[in-house]
């Protein structure tokens, strides 16, 4: 039996069902064969590489630019915007007497807080001809914290307290109650009438060229010189609004403020509008 099996399979041959040599070549020369074998994945690989470069750019390069942008603002703004400048501050507390609605309110409105920090780096670059170039980079991170407290109605005054954290307090920019009163009292009086039907306030950016006539606008959050002014206007009552208006008046004391109260008899809709230097807040009450 042994010899018979051996004889039977001595010259036995057969053909594989698949191209085994192609697979062997891939194993022997993975670089050459692999490129062609995986050509269909090359686009995906290229896209992945491009995406990685993109992520690297946005995560490393952009943050630096944004920091520089803020630094520029910090340098430019102080004349009109003392709060933004790390060297100047504004009044820690401003008190204005106002006639308030009957409902007692105790609210606190806070704005963005983060520490002020300035860094400087010097980079020396040696040129081909032996000269040494000095590249100086200064980065300012501008921060501010503002807290506005509104006392209960019984005190019948709007108390705006503004505090700067980690910054020296200097002489305040004074705003008299007479300057604030026309604006805030008009708003408070108008809004108080429709307070039972609260409608959301909307904030619109106003182009700087048309700061006195805030007609064309874009719906967005309030922005001032690159800093987000965060105020939940949808939940703002008249007292808060007056406080907000006072605060804005304080910031832009030399800028006219436009307050509109329009009533559309056809639509039975009342529109309250407070225009500031570079933005306005609008609230519509009633049915169309």
């Amino acid at each position: 039996m042994k010899n018979l099996f051996q004889e039977q399979f001595e010259d036995f041959e057969d053909e594989p069902d698949r191209d085994v040599w192609a697979a062997i070549e891939v194993e022997l020369r993975p670089k050459q064969a692999g490129i062609f074998a995986y050509r269909k994945y090359m686009w995906a690989a290229a896209a992945s590489v491009a995406m990685l470069f993109g992520i690297g750019y946005f995560s490393i390069y952009l943050p630096k630019n944004q920091a520089v942008e803020v630094a520029h603002q910090a340098v430019k703004v102080p004349e009109n915007e003392p709060i933004i400048s790390p060297e100047k501050t504004e009044a820690p507390e401003i008190v204005a007497s106002e006639t308030m609605p009957s409902t007692p309110v105790q609210t606190v409105v806070q704005e963005t807080v983060s520490p002020t920090k300035a860094t400087q780096s010097v980079k020396r670059i040696k040129t081909a001809d032996g000269r040494i170039l000095i590249e100086k980079t200064e980065t300012y991170i501008v921060t501010e914290k503002k807290t506005y407290e509104v006392e209960p109605e019984t005190k019948k005054q709007v108390q705006v307290a503004q505090s700067m954290e980690k910054q020296p307090v200097q002489s305040p920019t004074l705003v008299t109650p007479e300057e604030i009163k026309p604006a805030t009292s008009a708003v408070v009086a108008a809004v108080a009438q429709a307070e039972q039907k609260s409608e959301p306030w909307k904030v619109y950016n106003v182009p700087s060229q048309a700061s006195n006539a805030p007609t064309k606008s874009v719906k967005t959050t309030a922005k001032r010189q690159g800093n987000n002014t965060q105020l939940d206007l949808n939940n703002t009552n008249p007292v808060q609004l007056a406080s907000f208006a006072s605060q804005q008046l304080n910031k832009v004391a030399n800028t006219p403020v436009k307050v509109n109260y329009k009533e559309n008899k056809k639509t039975n809709q009342v529109k309250y509008e407070i225009g500031f230097k570079d933005f306005k807040i609008v609230r519509k009450v009633g049915k169309k």
Binding site: V20, W21, I24
Partner: protein, 181 residues
Amino acid sequence: MQLTATYRDEELVKGCQNNEPRMQQALYKQHYRKMFGVCLRYAENRDDAADILQDGFVQVFKYIDSFRGGSLEGWIRRIMVNMAIAHYRKKARFQTTDIETAYNVKEDETALSGMSSQEILKVIQELPTGYRTVFNLYEIEGYTHPEISEMIGISVGTSKSQLSRAKEMLRNKLGVATNEY
């Protein structure tokens, strides 16, 4: 696959040692059909046999520098057998049977008469992996039981009992097969 010019073993070995793709392909073309026949005897099916053939030739080209003359076909064949053993080592469940209890099977050569290699191969492939491996190594390759026990990692007694059981199963299968013809 078209057969190209036939080279002498020395030329093939030298070309492969120089890592020449053309000579590697020539060596493969000259031997792959016969080696696939070897792989078929150890494999359960043709697909597994192709896998063994592929791995075996990769080893051939990888270790061609260690070829020290003699029969190139015999050297490649041994690599294929070793690869087949490695391929099925994990799957193989060599049943331990004492040498005393091993079957003393009477060989019936008449059972193979009139059967083609493909028919016999089919019956061999139906054997359990351990039986098939020992049977191939002993009956066809000509290894001794001590050699088989070392190659596979089993005792000599187990190798003998595996062979006995393989023969018995083959006799029964071939007998049935013979009766069907």
